[in-house]
């Protein structure tokens, strides 16, 4: 096939690509991911920060229009689960990726051809809303059983300093940890 024929065929396919970029599934997913700060685009698109995304549509848009959607989709799903719905198989695939990233697993895995190394950074970025916390900023729930006198001291410290009990404990632990390290 000569160069001219290649270019002619590529131009035909580019017309089909143009139609796909106007597909409502693509526009809706991009509107959400751009509004949240996972992706940036150079053309105006209706922002959709409160939209509900069907995972099947997001995966279609990632596979047939913009592969970068697949790079950020696991992080977007992890941080905004209530905005997504999908079949059990897709949710399981996403949960597997999320678990591996949380466990800092070296296990080679991919999500629709995108390697975990390409997916990981987007779990830790600062988003536009400033409210949703990245994986490394999020607090972890823990339960401890204290002696009653320790609880009394903690309450007194809370009243005296105006800090939360969690903040008091975190400060004490980080101060001790610094001494231990020194």
């Amino acid at each position: 096939m000569n160069k001219r024929v290649y270019i002619k065929k590529i131009k035909e396919l580019a017309q089909q690509d143009k139609r796909r970029r106007l597909d409502s599934r693509y526009l809706k997913v991009m509107g959400f991911l751009v509004a949240k700060g996972f992706l940036y685009i150079n053309k105006k698109n209706h922002l959709n920060p409160n939209g509900h995304i069907n995972l099947k549509d997001a995966i279609w848009a990632g596979r047939f229009v913009e592969p970068r959607i697949l790079e950020v989709l696991p992080a977007a799903y992890e941080r905004f689960k209530r905005h997504f719905s999908g079949d059990a198989e897709t949710v399981e695939k996403l949960e597997q990726i999320i678990d591996r990233i949380k466990q800092k697993s070296d296990h080679k895995t991919e999500f629709y051809g995108i390697s975990i190394e390409k997916i990981r950074p987007w779990f830790f970025i600062r988003l536009r809303d400033g409210r949703s916390k990245s994986l490394d900023e999020r607090k972890v729930s823990k339960t401890f059983r204290f002696k009653p006198e320790t609880v009394d001291i903690l309450k007194k410290l809370k009243d005296q300093t105006g800090q939360s009990e969690t903040a008091i404990l975190e400060n004490l632990i980080s101060r001790n940890a610094l001494f231990d390290l020194a």
Binding site: K3, I10, L13, D17, I41, N42, R68
Partner: protein, 169 residues
């Protein structure tokens, strides 16, 4: 994106300026002028000549060659993070084709920011990341604005066949 990048480098320039004033006062060595060469998708996003003719999307990834001292690099990383962006530490692995040109983006007192020209960025993508950029390359070829793009892809052993693959639904 261009405004965001301008904001980041304006702030970095100011931080370096203040640090240099402090160092001059202390009689210590000042920070030399920094150079940044942006490539990859961000170089297309901030390039006015292509931003209107191509449909571009990008993650918060910045691929760039940085020539700057430790203080400036650390401040740049902090500023990128604060703005939801990430510097790709594998930037040095990006292949830049022969005949690539550097285009000035911003010039500050303490930093010079340049880009790789759009056609060379597209050639690099067509050779090393064709899957991720299939639609972008097809659009770039279709609009006839990059006269040497196809020839340069062929010259660099790129496979035009790949861009004919229609990923049917």
């Amino acid at each position: 994106m261009k405004n965001l990048i301008k904001k980041i480098f304006t702030e970095l320039n100011q931080v370096i300026e203040l640090e240099n004033l402090k160092r001059l006062k202390d009689g210590t060595l000042t920070i030399p002028k920094s150079e940044v060469l942006i490539f990859g998708q961000m170089s297309l996003m901030v390039n006015d000549s292509v931003a209107t003719i191509l449909n571009l999307a990008q993650t918060g990834d910045m691929d760039a060659k940085l020539r700057m001292d430790y203080f400036a690099k650390k401040k740049l990383m902090d500023l990128l993070e604060a703005n939801g962006l990430v510097y790709d530490e594998d930037s040095h692995l990006t292949w830049i084709p022969g005949k690539a040109k550097e285009v000035e983006l911003f010039r500050f007192k303490n930093i010079e920011v340049k880009l790789i020209d759009a056609e060379s960025t597209l050639v690099s993508k067509a050779i090393y990341a064709p899957q991720k950029n299939k639609l972008l390359i097809r659009q770039a070829i279709a609009i006839d604005k990059f006269p040497d793009l196809v020839d340069r892809i062929i010259e660099n052993n790129g496979k035009l066949d790949f861009f004919l693959e229609d990923n049917s639904e």
